[in-house]
Amino acid sequence: MVDQLPNLGREAEMLMAMGYASMDDLFSDVPVDVRMEEDLPLRPPQSEEEIIADARRLLGANVSLGSMASFIGAGLYRNHVPAAVFQLVTRGEFLTAYTPYQAEVSQGMLQAMWEFQGLISELVGLPVANLSVYDGSSAAAEAITCAVRVHGRKATQKGVVYVSELVPPDRWSVIHNYTQGGGIELRTLRHLEDGTVDPASVAEAAGACAVYVEQPNPLGLLDASLTSVKDAIGEHTAFIVGVNPVSLGLYEAPGHYGADIVVGEGQPFGSPMTAGGPIYGIFACSKAYMRQMPGRIVGRTIDEDEQTAYCLTLSTREQHIRRHRATSNLCTNETLIALMGAMHMSLLGPEGVRSLAVRNAAALHAVVQALEGVDGVEFVHPDGHHFNEIAVQLPGPAAACIEALEAHGVLPGFDLGRWSEARSNQLLVTATDQTRPEDIDRLASAMAAWCAEVVA
């Protein structure tokens, strides 16, 4: 029997108050030919205790990464979310509210999101940030459609957007789905052998609506040449940079080297990986893009007594007002996860975010050192600077390596063959602030054993 309905047992009394005899009377408007006559062919209800037991059994059968030496990332990163974040975010006032349509009783979330905007804006070096979108991939896609709305008229390459060829196929697919309806043509922005962007390809993009490229790129490589992209493409082509936000504790904010829009996966700030969702997407831009940006944004204002207050603003871009002419269909978003991000960032502070970035860089450095000693393993971009992850060339298929190392309790990385067949002998190895020295030792020794076997 279900236990979540306060009016169980009071149905007759309530129906009688309305002059009805049975529940069927309330569904008399459902025409006979569309009625469901049989019971739902589903399982019987369970109690809380039974549900918890089943959840423990099923979720307990999953192999959580903490139980292994894990080096898988590729866009999501194992991190430590401070305890205070989980404690605070489960407060019912945050957890069980919805979009702050009634500002007077939603000041808490509105202010928290306004603060979030300020934290993101400072981090990426752009004046405007919204209160998040679904994830990094939809953020990239919405940045592209936003840029096309802004530059569509003046672009000499109408509707054309150049997207880095290193963008993983799954993200590329999201971008394709979001942009194909707008008559947007996606062209490939090429990279050189060393992983940096090809200046010739960048030059071709001048006059297009936008260029989308990631820093660090999806192989973890940092590209100093991105600092000259904006000069090369000019003011009528949007420079969109996808970031790993933690890297910005150490490396320059793209807004400081010409980016017009910065997007990214916010997850490493505040959110566990959670099998890929819910996470949140960062979206920030310069003023020129503000009125064409997607999503919700909070402004500071005053109330009737001229006291400081907050409310949603620039709403005339949004679907509930502008309908099919809206800048996006966004309604429900990822506010609570963005709130976790804000809480995490507020505990880090300017020095803490730098330390966090250094720890991530140091962990990768330790992994690189360990793998340098493994015969048969080579780095795809040995001369490049990397953050969080690095692509390595193996003497055999990455898929086989992953399978073989499982016996050692090691998940050595992500099989890059899933992104491109040409890379099926490449592994993307990720290290984060949660990588332990003993994990690295296990990786190196298991990898050495596997390589020796393959080479032999």
Binding site: Q4, P6, N7, D29, P31, P44, D54, A55, G60, N62, S64, I72, G73, P82, Q87, E93, F94, T96, P100, Y101, Q102, Q107, G108, M109, A112, E115, L119, P127, D135, P168, S173, V174, H176, G181, T227, T274, A275, G276, K287, I297, G299, T301, E304, T308, A309, A326, N329, C331, N333, E334, L336, I337, L339, S346, G349, E351, V353, A363, A366, H385
Partner: protein, 498 residues
């Protein structure tokens, strides 16, 4: 109250971290890219941070603090066990690219949810990938688009939406590249079959509609509408925002729909989190199934040596044949799906009882409000938003008479209700009802709460206009100036002129 930037802690204040695995001096960092100026973030200690956010939370209204009759949003109680489950490492500490044998428990939950959602909606296949209702709409519309391209019917470039539709419907269809054809509703707020027939031809790809509609009315002509749309070769799309009203009593499949989206956060209760996260799976009939975003979860007989979570069954990912690709990079909001799985397990086949109570509560509240208003002599100040005998899970009231008689608007009533300790109903939606209040109590409100709300609502309606214009006065701030916000844009600290 303070904002984050009012905290002036010492350098390095905040969360203490372990030392890096390698000293910074030994790292070769990419020097030309090194950050010159640190972000101007505030510095808080943990005690300050905890108090800051706790105080912020006290300035926020949630279902946990009071009745939240926000129409169209289904603000029901969220069972707390769901939160406990969602924090287990078997969901939190999982990477979506782990091999299938690492994820049998999660895949089994996904499979069960796909099945349950298909059964409830009368659909054949389900994907859990879209992360919100609007993304579900967009995904389904994309599937329909590719279905027609595959059939050589690319001329179907238009989508019909009723004038009472959620704004996301036309926005989602437009994002996919469709032209929107809006059809008017009849005077009683339902589909106008004549107006619909007049716009239908072989350029129509689909009709998007919710049932019960946004006035809380069951579309009694839905089967006829489906027949008309199918008659010109179009598809019927069901916006599942109002699915909470009908589970186990009817289904989109029975009504003739080809595709639906579900708002798991509404119907199956993922906490709305101040705006999200949600989860917006879609279900489709077999002819659209090859176009679903991939991968979906499928099951086969287990082979020897496979460690199963269900005897003899092995769960695996499967890419639909003509998949549109992805709308989210990973597998959607898996954390929300797990919470909603726990919610579903609480009800099982009694989901029907859940929907019945949602409708019972809405009708009971509507009757109680009218009864109390009559007794208090204020029943002339509002009317039903639509003529009907029974409502479904929500209903609308029009404050137009109060506006004409006293200059009191729907917004004034909403603000008055805030002073009584309630969240206001949805205001000014649907657009077809003047001075609209849209009220959805959900099944998790007790009769006593509904009785008290009816009394308090009527008291607010009977309050003198000057007091209502000045409301709210008991809230953390008084009426907020949205025009000032738009004219004097201040979107961040440190402040910068916009």
């Amino acid at each position: 109250m303070n904002n984050l930037w009012d905290f002036t802690g010492a350098e390095g204040a905040g969360y203490a971290q372990p030392a890096p695995l390698v000293p910074e001096s030994d790292l070769s960092l990419a020097t030309p890219l090194l950050r010159k100026d640190a972000p101007r973030w505030p510095r808080l200690s943990e005690p300050e941070m905890v108090r800051h956010y706790t105080n912020l939370s006290r300035r926020n209204f949630g279902i946990d603090t009071g009745f939240y009759p926000l129409g169209s949003c289904t603000m029901k109680h969220n069972p707390r066990v769901n939160e406990v489950i969602a924090q287990m490492p078997g969901i939190c500490d999982i990477h979506p690219h782990q091999p299938e044998h690492h994820l049998q428990g999660l895949l089994s939950i996904f499979h069960e949810m796909q099945h349950m959602l298909a059964v409830c909606a009368g659909m054949d296949e389900v994907t859990l990938q879209p992360v919100a209702g609007a993304q579900g709409e967009f995904t389904a519309v994309r599937c329909i688009q590719e279905y027609f391209r595959e059939r050589g019917e690319a001329q179907r470039t238009r989508i019909v939406v009723p004038d009472s539709a959620h704004g996301t419907n036309p926005a989602s269809a437009a994002m996919a590249g469709f032209e929107i054809v809006e059809v008017p509703s009849t005077e009683d707020g339902r589909i106008d079959l004549e107006a619909l027939a007049a716009v239908l031809d072989d350029t129509i790809a689909a009709m998007m509609i919710t049932n019960p509609n946004t006035l809380g009315l069951f579309e009694t002509d839905i089967a006829a509408a489906a027949e008309l749309v199918h008659g010109v070769g179009g598809q019927m799309y069901y916006d599942g925002a109002n699915f909470n009203a009908i589970i186990g009593r009817t289904s989109p499949g029975l009504m003739g729909f080809d595709a639906v989206h579900y708002n798991l956060h509404k119907t199956f209760s993922q906490p709305h989190g101040g705006g999200g996260p949600g989860s917006g799976p879609i279900g489709v009939k077999a002819h659209l199934a090859p176009f679903l975003p991939g991968p979906v979860v499928d099951v086969r007989a287990a082979e020897a040596g496979e460690r199963t979570v269900e005897s003899g069954r092995w769960f695996h990912w499967r890419e639909p044949e003509h998949s549109i690709g992805k709308v989210q990079q990973w597998h959607g909001n898996a954390g929300a799906v797990v919470r909603c799985w726990a919610f579903y397990r609480r009800y099982g086949r009694d989901l029907r009882t859940m929907s019945e109570h949602a409708v019972l509560n809405a009708n009971y509240l509507r009757h109680a409000i009218h009864r109390e208003a009559k007794e208090a002599g204020v029943d002339h100040l509002f009317v039903d938003g639509a003529r009907t005998d029974v409502a479904k899970h929500e209903f609308t009231l029009s404050m137009q008479p109060a506006k004409e008689a006293l200059g009191v608007t729907a917004m004034d009533i909403a603000k008055g209700l805030l002073d009584m300790g309630y969240m206001a109903p949805t205001v000014y939606f649907p657009l077809v009802v003047p001075e609209c209040l849209m009220i959805e109590p959900t099944e998790t409100e007790a009769k006593d709460t509904l009785d008290q709300f009816a009394k308090d609502f009527v008291a607010v309606v009977g309050t003198d206009p000057a007091t209502l214009h000045a409301a709210p006065v008991t809230t953390p701030v008084r009426r907020v100036d949205e025009v000032y916000a738009a004219r004097n844009l201040c979107l961040r600290v440190p402040e910068e002129d916009l």
